[in-house]
Amino acid sequence: MRIDAKGLHFSVLDKAVRDAADGEIIIDNCIGQRYIACGLSGKNIEINGTSGNALGAYLNGAHITVHGNVQEATGDTMNGGEITVFGSAGDATGYAMRGGKIFVEGDVGYRCGIHMKAYKENKPAIVIGGRTGSFLGEYQAGGIIIVLGDSKDGKPVIGNFCGTGMHGGEMYVRCEQIPTRLPAQVKSERLERLPEGEAAELVREWCARFGKDSKAYLDCTFYRLTPDSANPYKQMYTQN
């Protein structure tokens, strides 16, 4: 099914996507319509253009590919499925996501992966090709975030306050030197190359999607960031 989104209100477009009997949906001329594919499962959605805020919020298994940029809160509270962005993503990408994968070719905005958490077989992953804004992985409680830092403009790969309040999960940042002072609760470890395992597999998957040579992204210096405690507030209180 093919939908021309030109001039369509988000509620009309989203209803068409939700109600479509066809599992294969292509949206053309997307111009910032919000909430596309909220809570959807069992569909493949391809978007040409720029999708609006909250693309794939509560996504429950559907696959979304965007040929263009996406705005804020992509994959908010996503439970499963995949979102691939041939472009850049806005703020709060992957907010509180619990499962599934988000692949971004370019940059992401502020607060990417905030409140990300893992549970049993659900382990969310975000792979970012470019740079990120500040507060990456804030309150991260699980899952994995990879920043490949592919950028030629010389700006820092991640912004300030990376991992503030982090108490679970891990982040991998590809850079020669972590460009920011990390909060006290975040431990960092320098890796001369990305070790085999989940992170390397995700990077290969990202490279396959965007037609990049994986060797160039694996054989480099990474920093692995992890929290120093799963119970950051334990010592803070006195019974009264």
Binding site: N53, N79, A96
Partner: protein, 502 residues
């Protein structure tokens, strides 16, 4: 050096009545009572006592009582014992003081300074025993455009509504902060009463999906347990922006309380802190709030009302006006006396405003702006009786949330130590041996009893006023008069003083 702090309450045992059956010892999770084999007598360590009255209630010979200690520091109008002890505790530990349940301080209770009207001679009272007296109501947006199809028939353009048989719902209490059996009691009572209970921000246990049509599910900043099936299961979705007991403060469920079952319900690993900070980091404006409201509506096909819950704070009228314009269907306002499973003492006791004043101002503001019908208003924190419910509705509420009163019905004795997780009444605990003390078969029945009794009383009071439905009582402030209030208080509440005529 830790300074010894004399316990505030003492366990007193009548030696003549005590038969050393050791029930008190078995029932106390705080390990206050012990048996001295040498003397054959029971001992009590009052320093461990939280004054929950479990032992007093279960003692078969009524040999126990808890009394306020008469030990005191030198009497001081400024530095009372509690204030001094709190300084000692913090100097001992360096910690933030942690308490629970609602603000216990001696602030004015405005419910108790409002009196309800009754009819005499003209517009006579109605006898609810023989005349219909409607306590059923609907919550949701009441603005709907009249649209007709090509055959001229009315199209249903009404936004989704929540139908309540009584103007009382159970407020948000998460599984984790309260026990499985407490949740089961609330869910079954809501079903039988034709009303709703609220999951709080702790997810919905798999066993309780069957009560979905009587369940309000909460979405908070940490998004615990939020996913498609959870949203689909519910009758309504509540976005938690704030809580009366701790405005501006988020939730931290310590890892120690995340049992296997709580972990499964919240969808987070066992033993890891569940952190739900006060700010939603994706919401900085009413437009951002609107985005979350609509993403939830989109995810549930516009079939469920969305509630936005805020704490009663200084500017809540303006905030409520924004919420009414955000697309939300219902605003829930939680007063500063609302309960909690854990809150910093200073926040609980000093932040926020009384629900009576907040409600009056919110209702007035929405009416002035012509948007009162865009939303329903639900208030809680704290509604203690049917009279409070009647006064709240007359001030402008559509319905009330009760939390503390519901827990009292389940056996809570307001010892205000929920944060320790050792509730002897099986309510605010996850310890299996304590949880099983609360029998949901009995618990749910007690909740049904309480709300049914309140509903009868509401009917009696409405009948007395000559009003035969809660819908007709709503916002009817002429049915209220103030007593012992200043001019400013009367004007904030929008009511006249007792004795003043229409």
């Amino acid at each position: 050096m830790n300074i010894y702090i004399q316990p505030e309450y003492e366990v007193v045992r009548d030696r003549d009545r005590c038969i050393a059956c050791r029930v008190c010892e078995r029932q106390c999770a705080n390990l206050v009572h012990s048996y001295d084999a040498e003397t054959g007598k029971m001992q009590a360590d009052s320093t461990q006592c939280v004054n929950c009255h479990r032992c007093v209630c279960v003692c078969p010979t009524h040999a126990l009582k808890i009394v306020k200690s008469d030990d005191t520091y030198k009497i001081n109008g400024n530095w009372d014992n509690q204030t001094i002890n709190e300084v000692y505790r913090q100097a001992n530990s360096g910690g933030v003081l942690l308490s629970s349940m609602g603000n216990p301080k001696d602030y004015p209770v405005f419910w108790d300074k409002m009196l309800i009207n009754a009819s005499q001679v003209t517009n006579p009272p109605i006898d609810p025993l023989r005349e219909p007296m409607e306590t059923q109501l609907w919550l949701g947006k009441r603005t709907a455009k009249i649209e007709r199809d090509e055959k001229g028939r009315l199209k249903n353009t009404l936004a989704p509504q929540l139908k309540l048989k009584v103007p009382i719902m159970f407020s948000a209490m998460s599984y984790g902060s309260i026990s499985y059996n407490a949740h089961e009691s609330l869910a079954r009572a809501a079903e039988e009463l034709g009303t709703y209970y609220n999951t709080g921000e702790g997810g919905l246990h798999k066993d309780f999906y069957k009560y979905g049509k009587n369940t309000i599910v909460q979405v908070a900043s940490g998004r615990f347990g939020v996913y498609k099936d959870y949203l689909d299961a519910a009758a309504a979705i509540e976005i938690k922006m704030g809580q009366g007991a701790k405005p501006g403060i988020g939730g931290h469920l310590p890892g120690a309380k995340i049992s296997a079952d709580v972990s499964e319900t919240r969808m987070i690993p066992q033993g890891v802190d569940a952190i739900s900070p006060a700010p939603h980091h994706d919401i900085y404006s009413i437009e951002d709030l609107r985005q979350l409201v609509y993403s939830l509506k989109e995810a549930t096909d516009y079939k469920k009302p969305v509630i936005v819950k805020i704490a009663a704070v200084h500017n809540c009228a303006a905030i409520a006006s924004g919420i009414a314009r955000s697309g939300a269907d219902i605003i829930a306002i939680d007063g500063y006396r609302g309960g909690t499973g854990a809150a910093p003492t200073r926040i609980r006791d000093n932040v926020g405003i009384p629900i009576e004043l907040a409600l009056a101002q919110v209702d007035q503001r929405l009416r002035e702006e012509g948007i009162r019908d865009e939303v329903s208003i639900v208030v809680g924190g704290s509604v203690r009786s049917s009279a409070d419910v009647v006064k709240a509705i007359a001030l402008g509420a559509d319905a009330c949330y009760i939390g503390t009163a519901a827990l009292l019905a389940l056996g809570c004795h307001l010892c205000r130590t929920c944060q320790t997780g050792k509730c002897n009444w099986g309510i605010a605990t996850q310890r299996p041996d304590l949880v099983k003390r609360l029998n949901p078969d009995i618990g749910y029945k007690r909740l049904v009893n309480l709300v049914t009794a309140w509903n009868h009383e509401i009917q009696e009071m409405m009948g007395g006023m000559g009003i035969n439905s809660v819908e007709a009582l709503r916002g009817n402030r002429l049915m209220l008069r103030g007593i012992g209030l200043t001019d400013t208080e009367l004007s904030v509440l929008g009511i006249k003083y007792a004795g003043e005529s229409m």
